[in-house]
C-alpha cells in the first residue's frame, strides 16, 4: 500500500517538474498587458474599468457609496465624450467585505476574468490585491490610507499616499488647520488619544511629531483605548487627559479613532464641563447629523477632511453635487465615500486624458510620470510625488447647531520630514 502511494507521489513530482519547465518556458511572456497589439480592456471606443469596495461587513462599517461616486464621475466623463475618444465602461465595484482573501480574489477576477484596463476606485480596509495588481501592471486608484498606495508604481491614491513612512514626510494639514481654530499654537497644549494597537501606536508617534513641530505643546499622547470594542466607560481615559496639562485640561483634545469611539470619548469629556477644542479626522459624515445622539455628541467638534468640504462653495463642488444627483437619480445626502470614489475616478480620467488616444499601460504610466494639476477638490495633484506623500491639503469643519460649518478653509500646507 505504501509502495503504491510512493509511486503516486513520484508520479506527481514528475508532473510538477514537467509543468514547471512548461511554466518556465511561458512565464517570460507574462506581461501580456501590452503585447500582441491588443491592450487589456481597451478597444477602439471603450476602456474597461472596475472597482473594489468593501460594502458588506460584520462591523457595520461600509464604503458602499464609493461606487456611486465613481459612477457619477464616469457618467459625466462619458457624457462629455469619454477620454481620448473612448467611453468608460465602468463595471461597478466588487464587494470585498473587508476580507483580505476576497480583496485579492476581486482583483484577480477583475483582471483575469473581466480584463479591465484599470481599477478605480479601490477603497477598503485591506488591500491584499496590491501585489497582484502591481505585478499585472494594472493602474489602480483609491483611497491612499493603506501602505500599498505608497511606493508601487501602478497604484495611486486620489489624495496621494496618506501613510507617512519614517524617512518620508508628514502632512501638516491637521495642526496647521487647528491653528486657525485655536488662534495660533503659541502656548497651546494638545492631548492626543488613540487605540491600543500597533496602528494606534503609530498614529501617536506621527501626530506627536506633527503637532509638536507646528508649535503645540503635546501634554498627553497615548494609545490607551482598547481596540477590540468600544468601552462603555470613558472615565479612566478622560481623567488622565484632563489632568495632563500640569493638573489642568489641555487646550485641545485630538482623537485619532473611529466614530463610535469618538462619540463615547467626546460625550464623556463634555460631561465633565470641558470647554476646549475637540477634533478628530473621521467624523465628517452628514449622516451623523440625522441622529440626535450623534449630533449632540459631536456638536462643536472640529473634523479634519482631506478634500474640499461640501459646505465650501466652488464650481467643482457644484458639479460634484450635480453629478451625484444624476447618478443616484435623486437627491442623496453627500458623504466622503462618494468623494473618494469620485476623486479616484477623476485622477484616473485626468491621467488617461493626458495619455491621449494611444492608450496602453505604458503610455498611461508615461503620462502619469510628471503629471500635475492644481485646484482640484483634493488640492494640487502631482505624480509620482503622490506615490510617496500626501498632497498635503485639507480643511477643518465644525459641527455646530446641527450642521457643518467650515472652521479652517481647504488649504495645502508644506509637509515636514518624518523622523
Amino acid at each position: 500500500m505504501s509502495r503504491s502511494m510512493r509511486s503516486i507521489t513520484a508520479a506527481l513530482a514528475a508532473l510538477l517538474l514537467v509543468s514547471g519547465c512548461n511554466s518556465a518556458a511561458t512565464s517570460g511572456g507574462s506581461d501580456r498587458a501590452g503585447g500582441e497589439g491588443a491592450v487589456r480592456g481597451v478597444t477602439e471606443d471603450s476602456v474597461k474599468v472596475g472597482g473594489i469596495v468593501s460594502m458588506t461587513t460584520s462591523t457595520g462599517y461600509s464604503k458602499k457609496d464609493t461606487d456611486l461616486g465613481a459612477r457619477a464621475r464616469f457618467e459625466r466623463a462619458n457624457a462629455e465624450g469619454g477620454v481620448g475618444g473612448r467611453k468608460i465602461e465602468y463595471l461597478g465595484a466588487e464587494d470585498d467585505g473587508q476580507d483580505p482573501s476576497k480583496n485579492l480574489a476581486a482583483a484577480r477576477k477583475l483582471v483575469q476574468q473581466d480584463k479591465v484596463f484599470a481599477i478605480a476606485p479601490m477603497s477598503s480596509t485591506t488591500f491584499s490585491g496590491a501585489d497582484f495588481l502591481q505585478q499585472q501592471k494594472v493602474p489602480t486608484f483609491g483611497w491612499g490610507t493603506l501602505p500599498s498606495f505608497c511606493g508601487p508604481s501602478y497604484i495611486y491614491g486620489f489624495g496621494g499616499c496618506m501613510v507617512p513612512t519614517p524617512g518620508g514626510t508628514i502632512s501638516q494639514t491637521w495642526p496647521e488647520g487647528l491653528k486657525k481654530v485655536t488662534g495660533g499654537s503659541e502656548g497651546r497644549s494638545v492631548a492626543i488619544l488613540a487605540n491600543d494597537s500597533d496602528a494606534g501606536t503609530f498614529a501617536i508617534r506621527t501626530y506627536k511629531q506633527s503637532f509638536a513641530s507646528a508649535g503645540y505643546e503635546v501634554t498627553y499622547a497615548e494609545p490607551a483605548v482598547p481596540a477590540g470594542s468600544v468601552p462603555s466607560d470613558w472615565s479612566a481615559y478622560t481623567k488622565e487627559i484632563l489632568r495632563s496639562d500640569g493638573g489642568k485640561a489641555p487646550d485641545a483634545v485630538v482623537s485619532v479613532m473611529q466614530t463610535p469611539y469618538n462619540i463615547g470619548l467626546f460625550t464623556a469629556i463634555k460631561r465633565t464641563g470641558y470647554k476646549g477644542v475637540l477634533t478628530d479626522p473621521t467624523d465628517y459624515d452628514p449622516a451623523l447629523l440625522a441622529k440626535d445622539a450623534t449630533r449632540k455628541a459631536l456638536d462643536g467638534v472640529h473634523v479634519l477632511t482631506s478634500f474640499q468640504p461640501f459646505e465650501q462653495d466652488s464650481a467643482d463642488m457644484r458639479q460634484f453635487r450635480e453629478d451625484i444627483r444624476k447618478a443616484a437619480g435623486k437627491d442623496v445626502p453627500l458623504n466622503m465615500h462618494m468623494m473618494t470614489g469620485y476623486m479616484s475616478a477623476d485622477l484616473f480620467l485626468a491621467i488617461a486624458g493626458k495619455a491621449g488616444e494611444d492608450l496602453t499601460v505604458e503610455s498611461f504610466q508615461k503620462a502619469a510620470n510628471g503629471f500635475s494639476d492644481t485646484g482640484t477638490m483634493v488640492g494640487d495633484r502631482a505624480e509620482p510625488k503622490g506615490q510617496k506623500e500626501s498632497f498635503g491639503c485639507g480643511a477643518l469643519v465644525r459641527l455646530k447647531d446641527g450642521k457643518y460649518v467650515v472652521s479652517a478653509p481647504f488649504t495645502c500646507y508644506p509637509p515636514i520630514p518624518f523622523k
Binding site: 505504501s2 503504491s4 502511494m5 503516486i8 507521489t9 506527481l12 513530482a13 508532473l15 510538477l16 517538474l17 509543468s19 514547471g20 519547465c21 512548461n22 511554466s23 518556465a24 511561458t26 512565464s27 507574462s30 461587513t57 460584520s58 462591523t59 457595520g60 462599517y61 461600509s62 483580505p100 480574489a105 477576477k109 485591506t126 501585489d131 505585478q135 501602505p147 500599498s148 501613510v163 487605540n195 491600543d196 494597537s197 500597533d198 501606536t201 497615548e222 494609545p223 490607551a224 482598547p226 481596540a227 477590540g228 470594542s229 468600544v230 462603555s232 466607560d233 472615565s235 479612566a236 466614530t259 462619540i263 465633565t272 451623523l288 441622529k291 440626535d292 445622539a293 450623534t294 455628541a297
Partner: protein
C-alpha cells in the same frame, strides 16, 4: 475614591449586559448541552430589528422592545431549538460547536438580507451600515446626571441597571418558586430522569431556549446605544461574557449572573489602573480575553480527560478491509485530473482560484489532526497561520531562502501550538475551544501588534518560491505544486493514522482511561497532536501567504479561524482528504454562487450557516455522509425484509405491561432477540440473569427509552411500542433507573414536588418518612444511598403508578436497607402496582417476587411462578447456559426450549 466608585458603577453597565448574556448561555447550555456561539448573533439580530422598527418605521420604543424581547426573540429560540439544537444535543461536541458557529455568521447575514429585501420593496427601513449613536429604549441623546462629584450616570446606564435587576429578580422567582422553574432545574440536573418522570425534556429545552433567546434579545436592545450595529462587536461581547458562564460552570444561573456583573467591574478596574502595562501594545485591549483565559484555567473543573467527546462515536468505516484501489483510487484519479486540468482546461482566473483552494486546504488539513485525530476543538489555527507566515516573511526580508524561512515559520507555529496547548490541555471540550479562542484573540491583540514582527500594516512580502526550473509565480505551476504537497500531506497523515502511534492517538480519543491503562500517555499524545497540527497549519499558512505573495497581521483573525473550522467540519474532519475537499469548496463555491446564483453577498453566508442544519443530521460532514448513507441504504434493503413479517398478536388480557417478541440493540449490536414478558396488577415479576443478559435493555425498552427493532410493548392492553419515555410515563409506566432515581441538586421537598404537586400529599410522605421530613430543605445529593432510594420511592407510595420498572433498586445498599426497599416495593404491589423488578441479588428478590423470569443472552430462558423456581435452573441461568447452551439439545422437556416458545404466564 470617587474614581473607584465611578469605575465600579460604569463597570456594572457592561457587567449587566454580560450577566444577561451569560445567563442565557447557561440556560441554553443546560437545556441541550451545547455552548451557543451564536448567542451574540441573536442579540445583534434583535438590536438590528429594534433599530429598523423604532428608527426606521417609527414604532414607539418601549412596545417595540417588549415585542422583540418577549415575542420575536423567544420565537427565534423556539424555532432554532426545533430545527437544530434538539438534534444537535444528540451528536458530538465538535458538530455542536460548529453548527452554532455557522449560525454566528448566518443570523446577522439573514437580518441584513431581510433589510436589503425590505429596502428593495420600498419599505421605509434604514440602511444598517455606518450607523452610530443609535437610540435605545430611553431618551436619545441620553440624559445624564452627576449624583456624586466626578461620577456621571446617564439614562441608558440607569435603564440597563434597572431592567437587569428586574430580570434577575424575575428569573429568581421563576426558577425557585414556580413549577416550571422546578422542572427546568430538574432537567438541568438529569435530563433522562425528567423524561422518565413524564415531563417532556424536549419541551423544557424549548422553554429554556426561548428564555435564553429572550435574554439575548434584551441584551441586544439594551446594548444598541453602546455597541451600535456591529455584529462583530456583539460576538466579541458574547465571548467575554462566556467567562461569566464559565464561572457559573455552565449550570448555575445565579453564579453566572453575579459573575457577569463582577466581570464588568473587574474589566473597568483593570482598564483604569493598568498603567503598569503601558509599554505592552494591546494589553488593555486584551484584558477581557486574559480574564476569559485565566477564568477557564482556574474555574473549569476537570470532569473528563482533555477534549474527549464521549458521544462522538466514529462512523462505521464501510470501506475497511477493501483494497487500496477501492479506498484511494477515486482520490488519486481526482488529484491527477486536477493537476492535468491546470495545463489544459482552466482559465488563468480559475487556475488561481484552484491554487488558492489547495493552499488553504493545507491549513484545513491541520484540523484533521487536532479535531479528527485528537477530538480537540482548536479555534486558534488562524493564529498559527499568521504566526508562521509573519516569521517566514520576517526572515525572507532578511534574505533567507523560501525553504528555510518556511521551515522556521513552521517550527515557530508548532512552538506556539505547544505553548498554547500546555495550559489548555487539561481542559475538555468546549472549555478547550473557548481557551484556544481566548488565546487567538490574545495573539491578535498583543503578540501580532508587536511592531518588529508585523511590520505595520505593510506586513511582509513572501514571494513565491522558485525550485530549480519550476517557477511557482505561474499560477498553474503553483497549483500543481500544491497538488503534490497536499497529496504528500494526506498520504503522510493517512499513514500516521494507520501506524501504531496513530492507533494510540485514536485510542486516546475514544477511551482515554483505557489508553492510559495500556501505557499510552494521554497528555503527551494530545500535546503531540496539538503541536503537529499547529505546525501543519503554520506550513499551510506560509504556502497560502506565498499564494497571496504577502502576509499582514490582520489577514487571518481569530474569527477567520472560527469560520475555517466550520467549513472543515461541514465537509468532514475525520479524514485529511475531506479537508482538501473543504478547501476547494471554500475557494470555488463563492465564485460559482456569484456567477450563477446571486449577486447578494448575504445569501451565500446564510447558506453556509445552514450547513449547521445539515450537521445536525450528519455530524460527520457531507463528505462522509454521502457514502455512509448509500451504504446504510444498501444494508437496510438486505436486512429489513425478513424483520417486517413479525406477527402482531393481540395483547394478553389483564396484563399491565407486556413485551411481545421484542428485539432491540444499540447501533447494529443486537442485545434482545425476542423477549416476551407480561406483568399484571398487584404482581412482582423478578427478572433475573447474568451481566450482559439484557436486563437493563429490557427495562429501557419497557420504559420507552429505547425503541425496539421489532416486537410490541403494551401498556394496559394498549400498543405503546412507538411512544417515547414521556408518553410511557404518562400512561403510568414508570422506570426507576439503575442508581438513584432522584435529582441530586434539588432539595428533598423539590424532588417530592415534582410528582406530588399538592402540599397535602407531601405532608403525608413526611409523616410516613420522618427522616425526610427533618431535612426537607437539604439537597438530595447529600443523602445516603438508602435515603436517596427512599426518596425515589416515597412519592410513588403516595400515588402508586400502574407499572413500576425498578432496575436494581438495591444496588450498593446495605442489606438492612435493601430489606427496607423491598418492603416498600411489596407495599407498592399491595397498592395495586405491577412491578417489573430487575435484580442480581436473587436470594432476596425471591422472597418478594410472585413470578420469576430468567433472561439469558437476550431471551427469556424460563418464566414461571416463584414456587417452581429451582436452584439448579437459576444457577444455569446465571452461568449463561440457560438458553444458548442448550439450543442444540432439542429434547421436549429441555428447559432451554422455553425461550423459543410463548411464555407461560400464570393467569391470576
Amino acid at each position: 475614591m470617587s474614581d473607584l466608585l465611578g469605575f465600579v458603577l460604569s463597570g456594572l453597565v457592561s457587567g449587566a449586559l454580560y450577566a444577561l448574556l451569560a445567563t442565557g448561555l447557561v440556560l441554553s447550555y443546560s437545556a441541550s448541552g451545547l455552548f451557543n456561539f451564536a448567542h451574540g448573533a441573536t442579540a445583534y439580530l434583535c438590536a438590528l430589528a429594534f433599530y429598523e422598527l423604532h428608527s426606521g418605521l417609527g414604532w414607539p420604543a418601549v412596545p417595540t422592545a417588549l415585542l422583540l424581547v418577549c415575542g420575536v426573540a423567544p420565537l427565534l429560540g423556539w424555532g432554532l431549538d426545533r430545527l437544530m439544537f434538539r438534534k444537535l444535543a444528540r451528536v458530538g461536541e465538535t458538530a455542536q460547536i460548529v453548527a452554532t458557529i455557522g449560525l454566528l455568521v448566518a443570523l446577522p447575514a439573514l437580518g441584513l438580507w431581510i433589510v436589503e429585501l425590505l429596502q428593495d420593496a420600498g419599505a421605509p427601513v434604514r440602511p444598517a451600515e455606518n450607523q452610530f449613536g443609535l437610540p435605545g429604549v430611553g431618551p436619545s441623546p441620553a440624559v445624564s446626571w452627576q449624583p456624586v462629584d466626578g461620577v456621571g450616570v446617564d439614562s441608558d446606564q440607569l435603564i440597563t441597571w434597572v431592567v437587569t435587576a428586574v430580570v434577575a429578580v424575575g428569573l429568581w422567582v421563576l426558577m425557585r418558586h414556580t413549577p416550571l422553574g422546578l422542572r427546568l432545574r430538574a432537567a438541568v440536573d438529569n435530563r433522562s430522569l425528567v423524561e422518565l418522570r413524564g415531563m417532556s425534556a424536549d419541551r423544557l429545552s424549548s422553554v429554556a431556549w426561548m428564555l435564553s433567546s429572550g435574554l439575548a434579545g434584551l441584551a441586544g436592545v439594551l446594548a444598541t446605544p453602546l455597541l451600535g450595529l456591529s455584529a462583530h462587536d456583539f460576538t466579541l461581547f458574547l465571548f467575554v461574557s462566556a467567562t461569566a458562564a464559565v464561572l457559573g460552570r455552565f449550570a448555575s444561573v445565579p453564579l453566572a449572573f453575579a459573575g457577569g456583573l463582577g466581570l464588568g467591574v473587574l474589566q473597568n478596574l483593570v482598564a483604569g489602573y493598568a498603567s503598569f502595562a503601558e509599554r505592552i501594545t494591546g494589553f488593555r485591549t486584551a484584558v477581557p480575553f486574559l480574564i476569559l483565559f485565566a477564568g477557564l484555567l482556574v474555574l473549569t473543573r476537570r470532569q473528563r480527560t482533555a477534549g474527549t467527546a464521549a458521544v462522538d462515536a466514529p462512523p462505521v468505516d464501510h470501506l475497511a478491509g477493501r483494497s487500496w484501489r477501492r479506498r484511494w483510487g477515486p482520490w488519486t484519479v481526482a488529484a491527477v485530473l486536477l493537476a492535468v486540468a491546470f495545463y489544459t482546461v482552466t482559465t488563468p482566473f480559475w487556475s488561481g482560484v484552484l491554487a488558492q483552494g489547495l493552499a488553504i486546504s493545507l491549513v484545513f488539513v491541520s484540523f484533521t489532526v487536532v479535531t479528527g485525530l485528537g477530538a480537540m476543538v482548536s479555534l486558534a489555527q488562524a493564529t498559527f497561520v499568521t504566526g508562521a507566515a509573519l516569521v517566514a516573511g520576517l526572515l525572507m526580508s532578511h534574505g533567507w531562502p523560501f525553504a528555510g524561512a518556511a521551515m522556521v515559520g513552521t517550527c515557530a507555529a508548532a512552538l506556539l501550538g505547544a505553548l498554547a496547548a500546555l495550559p489548555a490541555l487539561r481542559l475538555g471540550g468546549r472549555s478547550l475551544a473557548l481557551a484556544t479562542l481566548a488565546l487567538a484573540f490574545l495573539a491578535d491583540q498583543v503578540l501580532f501588534q508587536t511592531g518588529w514582527l508585523r511590520n505595520g500594516d505593510t506586513g511582509w512580502a513572501i514571494p513565491r518560491p522558485v525550485l530549480g526550473p519550476v517557477d511557482l509565480s505561474d499560477d498553474r505551476a503553483m497549483g500543481v505544486a500544491m497538488v503534490v504537497l497536499v497529496t504528500a500531506v494526506v498520504a503522510a497523515l493517512s499513514a500516521l493514522r494507520d501506524s501504531p502511534s496513530g492507533r494510540a492517538m485514536l485510542a486516546v480519543r475514544s477511551a482515554p482511561a483505557a489508553a492510559m491503562a495500556s501505557g499510552v500517555s494521554v497528555v503527551r499524545t494530545k500535546l503531540t497532536l496539538f503541536t503537529l497540527s499547529a505546525g501543519l497549519a503554520g506550513f499551510g499558512g506560509v504556502m497560502y501567504a506565498s499564494y497571496s505573495t504577502r502576509i499582514t497581521a490582520t489577514d487571518f483573525t481569530a474569527v477567520t479561524g472560527l469560520v475555517w473550522l466550520a467549513v472543515v467540519v461541514a465537509a468532514g474532519v475525520r479524514r485529511p482528504q475531506y479537508a482538501v475537499v473543504a478547501g476547494l469548496v471554500f475557494a470555488v463555491v463563492p465564485h460559482l454562487m456569484a456567477d450563477y446564483v446571486t449577486e447578494s453577498a448575504h445569501l451565500p453566508v446564510i447558506l453556509f450557516g445552514l450547513a449547521g442544519l445539515a450537521l445536525a443530521n450528519d455530524p460527520d460532514g457531507y463528505c462522509a455522509a454521502l457514502p455512509t448513507r448509500l451504504h446504510r441504504r444498501r444494508a437496510r434493503i438486505t436486512a429489513d425484509a425478513p424483520e417486517r413479517s413479525t406477527p402482531q398478536g393481540a395483547p394478553t388480557p389483564g396484563a399491565a405491561l407486556e413485551l411481545r417478541g421484542v428485539r432491540a440493540g444499540y447501533d447494529g449490536a443486537p442485545v434482545l432477540h425476542g423477549v416476551d414478558l407480561a406483568v399484571h396488577r398487584g404482581e412482582i415479576l423478578a427478572l433475573l440473569g447474568p451481566n450482559g443478559a439484557g436486563k437493563s435493555t429490557t427495562c429501557r425498552v419497557a420504559a420507552g427509552l429505547l425503541a425496539p427493532l421489532s416486537g410490541q410493548v403494551y401498556a394496559a392492553g394498549r400498543d405503546t411500542t412507538r411512544e417515547g419515555a414521556v408518553a410511557r410515563s404518562r400512561a403510568g409506566v414508570l422506570l426507576a433507573p439503575e442508581g438513584r432515581g432522584i435529582f441530586p441538586s434539588l432539595t428533598i421537598d423539590e424532588n417530592l414536588a415534582l410528582r406530588l404537586r399538592a402540599k397535602g400529599d407531601r405532608d403525608a410522605v413526611y409523616e410516613r418518612f420522618p427522616s425526610l421530613a427533618a431535612r426537607r430543605g437539604v439537597t438530595a445529593g447529600s443523602l445516603s444511598g438508602g435515603e436517596q432510594q427512599m426518596l425515589a420511592l416515597a412519592p410513588l407510595l403516595q400515588r402508586p403508578p400502574g407499572v413500576l420498572i425498578a432496575d436494581e433498586p438495591s444496588l450498593g445498599l446495605a442489606p438492612r436497607v435493601t430489606d427496607e426497599v423491598f418492603r416498600l416495593l411489596v407495599e407498592l404491589r399491595d397498592a395495586g402496582t405491577a412491578l417489573l423488578l430487575v435484580e442480581e441479588k436473587a436470594a432476596e428478590v425471591l422472597e418478594v417476587a410472585d413470578t420469576v423470569a430468567y433472561l439469558a443472552q437476550g431471551r427469556v430462558a424460563w418464566c414461571g411462578p416463584r414456587a417452581e423456581v429451582e436452584a439448579d435452573r437459576m444457577t444455569e441461568a446465571y452461568l449463561g447456559i440457560g438458553a444458548g447452551g442448550r439450543t442444540g439439545a432439542q429434547g421436549p422437556d429441555a428447559p432451554g426450549d422455553q425461550g423459543h416458545r410463548p411464555q407461560e404466564v400464570p393467569q391470576s
